[in-house]
Point group: D2
Chain length 267, copies 4
C-alpha cells in the first residue's frame, strides 16, 4: 500500500475549500490504475491511499479517506463497501456483481448510517449514459426507432449490453406512451439483414477492426431524423464519470444506482 502524505496543510489552507480525500481499492488493476491517475489529475481531489488485494482496509481509516473508489472484483466488493459505510466513508463502485440481494443488504446498512452515500454504476461513461437517457426521452416522439452498435471484431456477444439496455428503455418509453412499434413492410429478408428485435426495437451489430465501442440511436418521423451517437474511443473516458461520482457522492446520501442519478439534466 502506498500512503500519501498526511494533510498537514489545514491551517494554511483554511481559506480555500479543503480537497476531498480519496482512496482507490483495486489500484493495481487496469481500471484501478486509471482511476489513481484520474484522481491525481483532478482539481479538488487528493489521493490518500492506493490499496491492492493484500492491503488491509484499516488503511482507509488510517489515511483519513472520505471517499473510496471500489474497482475490485465481485467477490470482494461487498465487504469493501460495508467496511467503508460502517466507517462513514462514501463509496463510488464500478465493480460488477451487485445483485438484488446485495443491494437490499446495503440499503439496510445505509439506513443505519444516514449521512453516507454510495454510488453503484454499471457504466461510468457519461456520454453513454446521456445517449441512453436521450434515446429513451425522444423515443415516443418519432414513428421509427432503430439502434446500430459498432464494436471491434473481437467481441463475442451481439448485440452489446448497452444496445440491449437502450432498446429496453426505448421500448418501455414507447409502450408507456402508447406508441405503436416502428413500421416495417419487410416481406422478403432471407438472410436476416433486418437484424435483431429487442423489446420491439431493431438492433444492428457491426464489427469492424479499428473500432472500440460506438452506438447510434436513429429516430425517424415524416420528413426528419434525429440521431444520437456515442463514440467510446478509449476506456479512459470512464474516468470522467468516476471523478464526477467522487465529487458528488458526499452530497447524495443513501444508495444511488446508475450514474444518471447524478446527472441533473435540469429540465
Amino acid at each position: 500500500m502506498t500512503e500519501s502524505t498526511a494533510p498537514e496543510t489545514t491551517d494554511a489552507a483554511a481559506s480555500v475549500p479543503a480537497e476531498v480525500r480519496v482512496a482507490v481499492l483495486g489500484a493495481r488493476g487496469r481500471m484501478g490504475s486509471e482511476a489513481v491517475q484520474a484522481v491525481r489529475r483532478a482539481e479538488g481531489l487528493q489521493l490518500v491511499a492506493e490499496l491492492g488485494r493484500e492491503d488491509s482496509l484499516q488503511a482507509l481509516v488510517a489515511a483519513g479517506a472520505e471517499v473510496v473508489v471500489d474497482l475490485t472484483v465481485p467477490s470482494a466488493t461487498e465487504a469493501n463497501v460495508r467496511f467503508a459505510v460502517e466507517h462513514g466513508i462514501h463509496c463510488v463502485v464500478g465493480t460488477t456483481g451487485w445483485d438484488a440481494e446485495r443491494l437490499d443488504r446495503l440499503e439496510v446498512l445505509l439506513a443505519e448510517h444516514p449521512g453516507v452515500g454510495v454510488l453503484i454504476a454499471p457504466n461510468f461513461s457519461v456520454g453513454a449514459v446521456l445517449a441512453m437517457r436521450f434515446s429513451a426521452q425522444a423515443a415516443r416522439f418519432f414513428e421509427s426507432v432503430e439502434i446500430v452498435e459498432l464494436h471491434h471484431p473481437d467481441k463475442v456477444d451481439a448485440p452489446s449490453g448497452t444496445a440491449a439496455r437502450t432498446a429496453a428503455l426505448v421500448g418501455e418509453a414507447r409502450r408507456a406512451a402508447g406508441v405503436a412499434p416502428s413500421p416495417d413492410a419487410t416481406e422478403h429478408d432471407p438472410a436476416g439483414a433486418r437484424g435483431a428485435l429487442v423489446d420491439d426495437v431493431r438492433v444492428h451489430s457491426v464489427r469492424l477492426r479499428g473500432l472500440v465501442a460506438h452506438q447510434e440511436t436513429l429516430l425517424g418521423g415524416v420528413g426528419e431524423q434525429l440521431t444520437i451517437r456515442h463514440d467510446s474511443f478509449d476506456r479512459i473516458s470512464f474516468m470522467t464519470g468516476v471523478v464526477l461520482g467522487v465529487r458528488e457522492v458526499g452530497s447524495h446520501p443513501g444508495l444511488t444506482h446508475g450514474l444518471e442519478g447524478y446527472l441533473d439534466l435540469g429540465l
Copy 2:
C-alpha cells in the same frame, strides 16, 4: 371557407373519446395547407374549418372549433389569437411577429380567460427542439462543444438561427456550471477555417446542393464523443409538432412559449 359536417354522432360515440374540433387559419398558405392535411390524417382530431384571408373569424364560432391553428402573417396573428381567446378557443400559433409587447398584452388577456391555452412556437420541429434541449443538457459534461449546421446553398445567412440559438443555450449552460470554454490551441488560421465564435461556441456553416436543413452538436471529452444530429428533410416534419400542440394545448392553460414546454421529458 370550407365548413365540415357538424358533429351529429355524439350519441353514438358516447363511449369513445370525442374528437378535438380543429380550425386552421391561413389554410391556403404553404404551411397552412400542410396543416389542413395533417389534421385530417391525425387520429382523434376533426377538421371543422379552413379559413383564408377573407373569411370572417365568426366562422370559428359557427363551426364549434375547440382549437385554432394560426399559420397566417405577422400583421394578422394577434387579432386572430385575441378573438379566439375571447371566445374560449385554444390556440396553436406558428406565425412569427410575437414580440415582448404582444406577448405581454396576450398574458393580460389570458388572465381573464383562465381555462384557455395558447402555444406560440417559433419552431414546430420536434426533432430540432429535442436536439437543442439535449445539446444544452449535455454541454457541461464535456470539455469541448462545437456545432456544424448544413443547409442548401440558397440560404443567405450564416450561421442559421437554430445554430445560433443552440450555441447560446450551450454557452449559457456551460457558464452556469462553471465550465471553461472549449480548449483550442490554434495559432495559425489565416483563412478562417475555425468558423464563427457564438457565445464562446464554435459554429461551422456548410452549404451544399441537395441538403435542406441539418445540424450536429459535437461534444468531446477524453476518450469519447457524443453527437446529436437533426436532419430536416422536408417542412412537413413541422406538422408533427403542430399536431402535438393541438392535442396538448387544451391541458396547458395560459401562455406557453416554445414547443419544449409540451415535451415532458420525464426525468
Copy 3:
C-alpha cells in the same frame, strides 16, 4: 405527342455548338416526366419529342431526334431501342428487363450500326454508382468491411438491391486480392443482430420513417476507418445521370452496360 418547335436557328447558331436533339419515351410516367423537365433545364440539350404509350415511334424520326431516352416498361423497351438503333438514334435506357438474351440480340444489331451508342443503366444515380465503385476499389486495403443500408419503412425487400450488388463487388475484389473475410469473434447472437452475410460481407438493413435511400460502406483497419456514404433524398437525383448519359452516348458507340462506363475517373 408534343412536338417541339423545329430547329430553324441553324444559320444564326452556326458559330455555337449545335444542341443535342433529345426525345423522351415514357414521357408521362413518373421518371419520364422528370426526364422531360431535366432535358429542358439542361444546357446544350433540346427536347424535340415527348412520347407516351400510344404514340408512334415514327415521331422520333419526324422530330429529328439524335438521342432517345427510354423510360418505359420491360415489355416495350426492346422494340423501342431496336427501332432507334435502326434509325441511327443513340439510346439512353433506364427501363429494366434487359436480360442476357436481349443484350445479346442488341449487340448483334449494334454491330450492323457501328456508329450508334446505347447506354443501359440499372442505376442512374451518379453518387450511388461512385459509392459502389469506391467501395470495391478500397475493399482490399482494409481488414474489415460491412455495409449498412437505410431506407423508408415501406420497402418490402431486405437488403436493398444496391447493397447486395455492393457486397458482391466488395466480396469479389477481396477474393481476387486474396484478402481473408472480415474477422468476427461473435459466438453468441441469439436474435440475429449481426445481419445478413452476402458474398462474405455483412449487410445491415435499417428501415426508418423519413428516409428515402441511403447506404454506408464501412471499412476498418488497425487504427483507422474509411466510410463511403451515399444519400438519395429524392429520385430527381437520377436525372443527373440521365443528362450525363445523353451528353456522352454519342461518343460511346456500341453497348455500354452501367453508368460507370461513362464515369472516367482518370487514374
Copy 4:
C-alpha cells in the same frame, strides 16, 4: 544495433517464397519503433536490422537487407537513401524534408541503378490517401463540395495539411472539368461561420477533445449527397501503408512519390 539471426533456412524453404529482408532506420523513434513491430508481425517480411542514430549504415549490408525503411530526420534521410540505393537496397521513406532539389539528385542517382525502387510518401495512411483520391475523382460530378476536418484541440494549424491538399486536388479536378465553384448565396456572415476558402473549396476545421484526426468530404447534387470520411484513431494505422510499401517497392523500380502510386485501383 540489433542484428537478427541470419537466413539459414534457404534450403529448407526452397519451395516457399523467400521472406523479404527488411531493415528499419530510426528504429528507436516513435514511428520507427512502430515500424519494427509492424515488420515483425507482417507475414512474408523478416526484420534483419534495427538502426539508431549512432549505428553505421554498413550494418545494412552486413545484415543482407533488401528493403530499408527510413523513419529518421530530415537532416539524415538523404544520405541514408543514397547509401541504400548505391548498395542496391530498395527504400521506403516516411521522413519529411524531400524538396525538389533532393528529389532531382535522387532521380539522377536512380538512373544509374535501374533496378532499385524508392518510395517517398508524405502520408502512409492508406485510408487517408484513398479518401483524397476518391474526393478528387468524384468532385466534378457534383454541384457542391465542402470539406470538414476534425482534430484534437492541441493542433496549432487550421486547416490541416491533409484538408488543404484535398481541397487543392478537388479544386484542380473541378477546374479541369470546367465545373463552376460550389454555389453559395451567403450574404450575411458576420462571424465567419462559412470557414476558409482554399482553392475555391470551403474548408471547416473542428477541434474537439477526444478526437485524433478525421476528415469528411461532402459532395452534394440535386437530391443526393456523397460523403467520404476518414477516421484516423491511432498513428499505428500508418503501418499498414509502410508494410504495403515494403512489399511493393521491389517491383516498382525508380522513384515513386506518394503512396497512391502503389494503390492500383484497377479501373
